[in-house]
C-alpha cells in the first residue's frame, strides 16, 4: 500500500480505452408563427386568421401622396401689384382649379407703398375675399415723410394664419384709400403685396385633375425560391390593392400593368375586367373632413386569372398603377383637402395556405464555416436525430458537404432525414405529430470533412397528403416541426 506521489501516476482511463459520452445537443420546435417572425422583413410575413389558418403575405412598396401634391405652396416670386385703388388679382392657379373656400396657414404678407409726397400719408387697405370672424381684412398704415421724397414704405409682416379666403373666381380684391393730413385722397404711385409663400391648411372647390404614378414596384414572392421541380395548387391566391384616402375628392385606379413573372422567367399579364374599368376608391365627404377612407380590392380567382398564373410559381409581381384624382374631370364636383391629408396605396400578394403541393423539390447552397474547436480526443460522434412533424406533408431532405474548391465531401447525414406527414382527421386538420428517428455517424474522417466544409448543398422534397389528387388542405398556425438531437461522443484521452 505504500507509495509516494512521485511514482504514483493515476489516470481515470487508459489512453487506449476511450469512453462514450452521451449528451443532448438540440431541442427545438418551430411553428409557422415563429417562421413568420423570422421571415418578417417588412415585405414578407405570415398572417394568422382567427381560426388559425395561415396566409403568406408579400407586400410591395407603400406609395404615399400628401396634400402638397395637389396644392403645393405657392411661392411669392412675383408680388401682387395694385394698379388702382381697387384691384382684382387672379390667383396664379391652373384653369382647372376653382378654389371656393380656403384657410390660410403659415402665410405672411407685407405691403409696399410709394408716393412723391412731402407730407405724411395715411393708407387704409382691405382685401375683400379675406376675412376673419366674418370681418373683412383691413389694415391702416402711415407713410411718414422723413424729408426725402418720394416716400417709400414697407409694412411689418402680417400673418394671415387662420384667415379665410372665399371667392367664386380664384381672385383677391385689394381696395385702398390713401389720404393726406388735410383729408384729400390720392393715388399711390406704387402699391403691392409681397409674400414668401401662400399656403392653406384647408381648401375646397374643384381641385383639378391629377395623375399620381404608382409604378415600377415589384413584389418579391419568396414562396417558390429555390424551386427545382414539382407542382403547386394554391386554392385562392390574391393580389390586394389597398387604398387609404383622406382627400375629399374622387380617386380611381388606372392599372397600366400587372404582370406576374415565374421562377422560370415567363411573364404573364393579369387578366381582369377591373384592369380595364379601374377601381373607384372611397373618399370622405364634406361632413367627414379628417376621416380616412379605406378601400380594399382583391384580384382573385373570381375576377381574374390569378390562380392559374400564380400556380405557375410566381416569383415577382410587377405593377404600374396610376391613381387619378377627379378622374372624370368634372369641374362641378367639389372636393376638399387639408394640409395633413394623404393618399396611401399598398399592393400586397396574399397566399392563403390552402392547397396542395406535389413533388416539390427545392435546392439551395449555404455558406458554412464551422469555426468550431473540436477536441482532437473525439474519435466518433453518433447523432440521434428525432424529428416531429405536425404538417400534413411528407418532407425529406438531405445535405452534402462541399469544400472550398467546390468538391463534394459526401453527404452530411448517413441517410436522408425524413419527416412523415401527420395523419389527417376528418376535418382536414392533423391529429398528432409524426415522429421519426435517424442515426448519423461521424467518424474522425467525416468530422474532418465537416470542418473543411465551406458550403452545404441542400435538397428537400415536399408532398402534401394526397397531393396527387390535388387534395386541398389548410395549414394552421399550430403546426410545427420539432427537432431533437443527441450525440454519443467517443472520447479518447490523448
Amino acid at each position: 500500500m505504500t507509495s509516494s506521489c512521485s511514482d504514483f501516476d493515476f489516470a481515470l482511463n487508459d489512453k487506449e480505452d476511450p469512453f462514450k459520452l452521451a449528451v443532448p445537443l438540440i431541442n427545438s420546435k418551430i411553428s409557422l408563427v415563429k417562421v413568420g417572425e423570422l421571415i418578417d422583413d417588412g415585405n414578407s410575413s405570415i398572417r394568422i386568421g382567427a381560426d388559425g389558418k395561415v396566409t403568406a403575405v408579400y407586400s410591395g412598396e407603400v406609395i404615399r401622396q400628401d396634400a402638397s401634391a395637389i396644392f403645393p405652396a405657392y411661392p411669392g416670386i412675383f408680388p401682387f401689384i395694385m394698379t388702382a385703388e381697387t384691384t382684382s388679382i387672379k390667383l396664379p392657379l391652373t384653369n382647372s382649379y376653382l378654389i371656393k373656400n380656403a384657410v390660410f396657414k403659415d402665410t405672411k404678407v407685407r405691403f409696399v407703398f410709394e408716393h412723391p409726397s412731402t407730407q405724411d400719408i395715411k393708407v387704409k387697405l382691405k382685401i375683400l375675399e379675406v376675412t376673419k370672424d366674418n370681418i373683412v381684412f383691413e389694415r391702416d398704415f402711415v407713410m411718414p415723410y422723413g424729408g426725402t421724397s418720394p416716400i417709400s414704405f414697407t409694412s411689418e409682416e402680417i400673418s394671415l394664419d387662420g384667415m379665410k379666403f372665399k371667392s367664386n373666381n380664384n381672385s383677391l380684391t385689394f381696395v385702398y384709400e390713401a389720404t393726406l393730413p388735410d383729408g384729400s385722397s390720392l393715388k399711390l404711385n406704387k402699391a403691392a403685396m409681397l409674400f414668401d409663400f401662400i399656403k392653406f391648411k384647408y381648401l375646397d372647390g374643384y381641385l383639378g385633375y391629377h395623375v399620381f404614378g404608382i409604378d415600377g414596384s415589384a413584389i418579391d414572392v419568396g414562396l417558390f425560391n429555390n424551386w427545382k421541380s414539382g407542382s403547386f395548387n394554391f386554392e385562392d391566391p390574391k393580389i390586394a390593392l389597398s387604398v387609404e384616402n383622406a382627400f375629399g375628392v374622387p380617386v380611381r385606379s388606372r392599372i397600366n400593368k400587372m404582370e406576374l413573372t415565374t421562377v422560370t422567367g415567363n411573364t404573364f399579364s393579369l387578366q381582369s375586367s377591373y384592369i380595364n374599368t379601374g377601381i373607384d376608391f372611397a373618399y370622405p365627404s364634406f361632413t367627414e373632413v379628417g376621416a380616412i377612407k379605406t378601400t380594399s380590392f382583391f384580384f382573385d380567382k373570381t375576377n381574374s386569372n390569378i390562380q392559374d398564373v400564380f400556380n405557375e410559381k410566381t416569383k415577382t409581381v410587377n405593377y404600374d398603377i396610376d391613381a387619378l384624382i377627379n378622374p372624370d374631370k368634372d369641374t362641378l364636383i367639389k372636393g376638399f383637402i387639408t394640409d395633413d391629408n394623404f393618399f396611401v396605396v399598398k399592393v400586397v400578394v396574399e397566399v392563403p395556405m390552402l392547397g396542395s403541393v406535389n413533388n416539390f423539390v427545392v435546392e439551395d447552397t449555404f455558406d458554412l464555416n464551422l469555426d468550431a474547436d473540436v477536441p482532437d480526443e473525439i474519435e466518433k460522434v453518433a447523432l440521434k436525430i428525432i424529428t416531429s412533424n405536425d404538417f400534413p406533408a411528407d418532407v425529406t431532405f438531405e445535405a452534402f458537404m462541399i469544400d472550398q474548391d467546390g468538391k463534394s465531401l459526401g453527404p452530411l447525414f448517413d441517410t436522408p432525414i425524413k419527416l412523415s406527414a401527420a395523419p389527417l382527421k376528418a376535418d382536414g386538420t392533423t391529429a398528432s405529430a409524426t415522429v421519426e428517428n435517424t442515426i448519423s455517424v461521424y467518424n474522425k474522417a467525416k468530422i474532418d470533412d465537416l470542418l473543411r466544409t465551406k458550403k452545404l448543398y441542400f435538397r428537400g422534397q415536399l408532398n402534401t397528403t394526397d397531393s396527387q389528387n390535388k387534395k386541398t388542405l389548410w395549414i394552421y398556425d399550430r403546426y410545427s416541426i420539432g427537432i431533437k438531437v443527441g450525440a454519443i461522443v467517443d472520447y479518447k484521452v490523448k
Partner: protein, 437 residues
C-alpha cells in the same frame, strides 16, 4: 472529467501522504505498561512511576473492501488507471477508503500517590470516503453505456485533522485499573459530507441529462469551491496555526482493565467520545433539487446570430452548487475496544483484541491475535488481523527492544502490503520511542 479527477486526486493525496496505522491495533496492546499503551484506551495499566513517550506514530489505511488491484491496472507507461473491465468485480455499490493517523508527539505519566497522571499532545487525522462504483463506471466508460439508467455519483468525503491536548488519570484497585482521559481539541482542517445524493440519469430519448441532488458538504480550511471546474483544495495537514485558538472541541477516552493473577489481563474501553465545532474558514456547499439539460433551442441562435453557445459551460452549470456558509460540527466517532492478554511464560505472551473503529460513514470491526516471543531484551511478535471488510490475510510483525529504561518499538500489521500496496486492502504500522523509570 475534471470533477472526477479532483475527487480522485483528493482521495489519493490523502492516502499516499504517509503510511498509516490504526491507533487501536494490537501493536498497542503489546505496549502495555508504557504510556503508548494507553493510546489503546486509558484503562491500560501503566507501570513504573514515570513514563515518557516520544514520537509514538501510528497510521493505518485501507480500502474497506476490495484492494485496488481488483479494479486498477497499469499500462505500459507505468500509469495506473481504473480498469473498466475489472469493475464488475466490485460487488458493493460504494467503495470505501479510510486513513487514520495518530502522532503522539509527546506523552508523560507520573505516579502521584495512587494516581498515574497523564499529559500529552497528539495530532490526529481521520479520513474516510465512499465513492460509488457508478462513479468509477462513469469515469471509465462514460454515460453512454448507461442510457436509460440512473448513476449514483455522490462522493462522500470526510476528513478531520486536529490536535489533542491529553490530560488523564489512572488508578488501580488491586487488579482493577480504571482510567480516563480528557482531550482538549483544536481542529486544523475538516471536510464533512452531510448529504451525498447526486444521481445522474441519461434518458434514452435523445440522451437528456437529469441530475437529482441532495448534497451538503462542509469544509474548514480545505475546500474552496468556485465552480465545478475550479475547486481549490488545501491539505495543509498537521498545521498548528489554530492551536489554542480556533475550531475547538472536547473529547473523552474511558477504559478499564483487570488483571487476573500474573498471567491474564482483560480490558475494555471506549475512546474518541466528543466533537469539534469548526469555525475557521468554515464553508458549506449545497445542492438540492432536480436539474435537467435537454439541449439548446437553436431558434434564438437563428434569430440573433451574435448569440454564442458553449456546451461545455452549459453542462458545467447543470450542477447548481451554492455556498451557504456557517459553522458546523463533527463528531469524533467513538471506538470500542475489548482486549485480553495471556502470559504463558516469561518467553511467550499471547494477545487478543476486538476493536470497532469509528469513522464518519465507515465503521471497521477488527479481530486481532498476536503471539510475542521474548528473547533477551527483544520482544518479537507475530500477529494476525481480520476485519469485517473481508480481509483475512493481514499478517504482521512487531519488534520491541527493551534497553533498560529506553524502549524502541515498531511493527506492521500487514506485511504483504509492503512493496505491494495495491494488492492489499489494509495496512498499518507503528513506531515509537519510550522511556520508563
Amino acid at each position: 472529467m475534471k470533477k472526477f479527477n479532483t475527487i480522485i486526486a483528493f482521495t489519493i493525496v490523502c492516502i499516499v501522504m504517509s503510511i498509516s496505522s490504526n491507533a487501536q491495533d494490537i501493536t498497542t496492546l503489546q505496549l502495555q505498561g508504557l504510556y503508548a499503551g494507553t493510546n489503546l484506551h486509558p484503562g491500560i495499566r501503566l507501570d513504573k512511576k514515570l513514563n515518557i513517550a516520544i514520537g509514538d506514530i501510528a497510521v493505518s489505511l485501507g480500502t474497506g473492501g476490495k484492494p485496488f488491484d481488483q479494479f486498477i491496472s497499469q499500462n505500459s507507461n507505468g500509469t495506473y488507471y481504473a480498469d473498466r473491465d475489472k469493475l464488475g468485480y466490485l460487488t458493493k455499490q460504494n467503495q470505501d477508503l479510510f486513513y487514520n493517523n495518530r502522532i503522539n508527539t509527546v506523552g508523560l505519566s507520573i505516579l502521584l500517590k495512587d494516581f498515574h497522571l497523564m499529559i500529552g499532545h497528539t495530532i490526529r487525522t481521520k479520513f474516510d470516503a465512499q465513492y460509488s462504483t457508478d462513479l468509477l463506471e462513469l469515469a471509465t466508460r462514460g454515460n453512454a453505456e448507461y442510457i436509460g439508467k440512473t448513476l449514483n455519483l455522490g462522493p462522500n468525503i470526510n476528513l478531520i485533522n486536529y490536535h489533542e491536548i491529553n490530560l488523564g488519570a489512572q488508578k488501580s484497585w488491586g487488579g482493577l485499573t480504571i482510567g480516563a482521559r480528557a482531550n482538549i481539541l483544536f481542529g486544523n482542517a475538516a471536510v464533512y459530507t452531510e448529504k451525498s445524493k447526486l444521481d445522474l440519469t441519461t434518458r434514452d430519448e435523445y440522451y437528456q441529462l437529469d441530475l437529482d441532488t441532495d448534497f451538503l458538504m462542509h469544509s474548514s480550511s480545505v475546500i474552496d469551491y468556485n465552480s465545478i471546474d475550479s475547486i481549490d483544495t488545501n491539505l495543509d495537514l498537521n498545521s498548528a496555526k489554530n492551536l489554542f485558538k480556533n475550531n475547538s472541541g472536547f473529547g473523552l477516552d474511558l477504559g478499564a482493565s483487570y488483571k487476573i493473577g500474573d498471567k491474564i489481563s482483560l480490558s475494555a474501553g471506549i475512546t474518541d467520545i466528543g466533537k469539534i465545532t469548526w469555525d475557521t474558514n468554515a464553508k458549506s456547499y449545497s445542492s438540492n433539487g432536480k436539474y435537467s439539460y435537454e439541449g439548446i433551442d437553436i431558434i434564438p441562435l437563428i434569430e440573433d446570430d451574435s448569440t454564442k453557445y458553449d456546451l461545455e459551460d452549459t453542462l458545467k452549470n447543470l450542477l447548481k452548487i451554492k455556498e451557504i456558509g456557517g459553522n458546523f460540527s463533527t463528531t469524533l466517532s467513538a471506538n470500542y475496544i475489548l482486549s485480553g492478554s495471556f502470559k504463558l511464560s516469561d518467553k511467550w505472551t499471547f494477545h487478543g483484541l476486538i476493536v470497532s473503529n469509528g469513522g464518519f460513514k465507515l465503521r471497521r470491526n477488527q479481530l486481532s491475535l498476536a503471539a510475542v516471543r521474548t528473547i533477551s531484551i527483544v520482544d518479537l511478535g507475530l500477529q494476525y488481523m481480520m476485519s469485517d471488510a473481508g480481509d483475512f490475510d493481514n499478517l504482521g510483525i512487531t519488534v520491541r527492544v527493551n534497553a533498560g529504561p529506553v524502549k524502541i518499538y515498531g511493527g506492521f500489521e500487514s506485511i504483504f502490503a509492503v512493496g505491494n500496496p495495491f494488492s492489499s486492502n489494509y495496512a498499518s504500522g507503528r513506531i515509537g520511542l519510550a522511556c520508563q523509570f
